[in-house]
Amino acid sequence: MNAHIRNEGDWVGASVNRKEDRRLTTGQGQYFADKKIPGTLHLVFVRSQQAHARIVSINTDAARALKGVVAVVTGADIRTQIKGLPQPVVVPSFAANYPDFWPLAVDKVKFHGEPVAAVIARDRYVAEDAAALVEIVYDPLPVVTDMEAALAEGAPIVHDGWASNEMFAMNYTGGGTPESEAAHARKVDEALAAAAVVIRRRFRVHRCGVTPLEPRGAMATWDDDGLTAWITTQRPHIDRLALSDVLEIPSDKVRVIAPRDQGGAFGVKAPFYREPILVCHMARVLGRPVRWLETREEHLMSVSQERDQIHNIEIGADASGRIVALRDNAIADNGDGCEGVYWGFVMPFFGAAVLTNAYDIPLCDIRIRVACTNKAVLSPARSFGAFAARFALDRAIDLLARELKIDPADVRRRNLIAELPYTTATGVHHDSGDYAKVFDHLTTLVDLKGFRAEQARSRAEGRHIGIGFSVGAELSGVSSAVLVSMENQPGFGAATVRVDPRGKVQVFEGDAPQGQGHETSMAQVVAQEFGIHPADVSLTTGDTGTTPFGSGTIGARGGSYTVSAVANACRALKSKMATVLLHDLKVEGVPSDVSFRDGRVFLTADPTQGKNFAALAERIVMAPLGLPAGMQAGLDQTEFFEADVPMLTFGAHAAIVEVDPETGIFKILRYVASDDFGTVINPIVVAGQVHGGVVQGLSNTMFEEFVYDENGQQLTATLENYKIANAADMINIESHHEAGSACPHTPLGSRGLGEGIPGPVPAALTNAVCDALAPFGIEVNRLPLRPNTIWRLLQDKAASKG
């Protein structure tokens, strides 16, 4: 199906207004905090004020004595009551050091903000009063907040009993034995030595993340049915299994419900965190509903922190700019590493694995070391692990181009993967598409030739404008082949489609969207398949009691895997309905002889012979007499979609900026994205994903930064200090997908998108600033990119020229 040509009744490809938006614009959304159960107790965490310290004593007497307080618990209380982590369902299939931890600190605290105790009271105000009365005596320990210092000999050890702070290390390309790794490294050394030009640089990307506007929360009840938990989560089915294991409750007695409306997540709500464990445990202990509603301060202290990587990169190229070899020694700062599913290190692991995505660089030596420090654990953020890696590589390519005096766009294009499918040196499968075409479309959109002429004119007038490019080949869902090793979970997309006797369609999805518009996109697909209206389709998500098992709304699975399961389920039901129609009409034929259109099911060859969609559904469900031999009644279908190969989504970005070299202040003049999204289901929704993803990337690059002082005190735990881009900081982002083509691996030709959008942003913007300032010869190789850092580099350059 061509995404850009639409016929009457074609819902796939139409900018349908979202079904969600009436309730969300009238204040009728049902977010986590809106769900209330009478008699609910409120839990408030007491969090560590120290970054690294022994817990000498905790005095809870004053807190307990406060009127309205029901319970106060500490790590010492709960460590014997529940199992700690790790538990297998939330541990990836990688060799790593996995720290033991409980929902509350046991013996010592490891970062500023770690939960140490919890107060449960009749309301939140009282619980907060009591939390302030909990007295904790600490014996401070030496603090380590720098990843390289943490890996050095003699560093303070974050986790008791560990020989070093190294949590995870990997050599992606060496063959797995010391001998093969040494031989491979020599090969890369030789290629670099023989290269016409070699770029060696250190790239540093700061700690920042995606910070959804709705914080986290958990509420639990305990009764004869067991545990029911409402959790702000992207993975309700995984949370259910993990809670069952940690709390030792049979899984059939655990139901997890992700609220229908979630206020953004972008990865942050995907891990299995400590706080919901304690909420569920306390609901069981107290036999009353217990709720925890995260404050923004808690959120910024303990989650939403990602990136934080160093890439030491060497790339060698021939005189034309064709890269012949690459080496990356990457390091990541994992914080304390205590978090189910990801353990912090899975993001930098993945970032280094996808370092060369989209580029044809067969000879690579790529390694990573991940350190624990006295900071909050890394939690996933859109452009999962890849944000820092993409910055490093796409900056390095610009530096290479500058060295060779070739336009960076040409060097970039020369190194793009030309023939697909392709597997990178780290084993990442690139499935299909035409990357060069999508990139060329971008250079046309920005009129690169015209821009260069304008740039020359502007420079003559003393104005400094610049253009920067970057690319990405990002997740389009995550296949089981990848996800089982990475997260010990299946990657399939799952959906149940039910046609009811009135011709209305219910769809059940085990994932848990957070603003992506699944209710609308899935309805469009169902409407397209059955020839009905999207208004006649409803979607239920996130409830483990009613939906098929799915690993969660992660990695751009919606538009790739989940929607494919929906389409396949519809097709199976259509085949059944068509078979019954042919049988009832006593017509010889096959299901493909039957059309579904305009609310009717009919013979394509003779449209007068047919039935209303609703009437045929009623006949099959309510009057299952005289069905074809062997056919069961009912119109429910569950499908599990697994693509034949892992898929990626390619995109290319360009930023155009003007920089004032006197101050370092820069202005973004244009930001353009050209992507291959395959068949687009809803263009306006897709554009929204691109706009939002790019602005998150820009905000990360320019504004956001988690700052820890030398004592490990987190200084950015409010939105006053953790600055997020507002409307006046930004411009209109331009999104284009017309250079794309249908994906051959999904039933609709669609690809997943959204997850990886921020990835190319930091390099595109930084390349643009450096291009604008090319006459000054400065290099920006660390983020954040701010006027003061640009100004400082300009000053240093001027000083060195003396």
């Binding site: 105000y125 206020g263 939002g692 409010t718 507002n726 006046a728």
Partner: protein, 164 residues
């Protein structure tokens, strides 16, 4: 310490005994159960999700106590649609896909509703400047700006109709 207060919300009078320290946003959400007003920051007034109108003026309801609103009139996002018909701005938001998760939307609608009254034909820069008290994490603001622009044009057309 509790106090009796009377607050009119979306035209309906509410008499309640509340703690002096109860925040206005908690009064709206927890006492009278209007949960369309959201909380996204630590009561620091940065995110704007809790914006409501106090006697017609946008305020951040996390920065006020309920007792400070005694005797005053409040409009929340639940009060924008009339008889089930979306306001021109709400309608424009749905048509432009100006929201994704919707969490910031209530506050932005309240802020922009008043903004379009005080500045009926704003430039794009003015629209963007008017939004600095609201954080949206999903949309990148592009569609929000477009929706407000369209609403301004439609409101102008409506005023022209009325004038005729």
């Amino acid at each position: 310490m509790k106090r009796a207060i009377t607050i009119t919300v979306n035209g309906q009078e509410h008499e309640e005994m509340v703690e002096n320290r109860l925040l206005l946003v908690d009064f709206l959400r927890d006492v009278i159960n209007l949960t369309g007003t959201h909380v996204g920051c630590s009561f620091e007034g940065v995110c704007g999700a809790c914006t409501v109108h106090l006697d017609g003026v946008p305020v951040k309801s996390c920065l006020m106590l309920a007792v400070q609103a005694d005797g005053r009139s409040i409009t929340t996002v639940e009060g924008l649609a009339k008889n089930g018909v979306l306001s021109i701005l709400q309608q424009s938001f749905t048509e432009h896909h100006a929201l994704q998760c919707g969490y910031c939307t209530s506050g932005i609608l309240m802020n922009a509703t008043e903004f379009l009254q005080s500045n009926p034909s704003p430039s794009e820069d003015e629209i963007r400047a008017s939004l600095i008290g609201n954080i949206c994490r999903c949309t990148g603001y592009v569609h929000i700006v477009a929706a407000i622009k369209t609403a301004a044009q439609r409101l102008a057309a409506t005023r022209l109709e009325v004038a005729k």
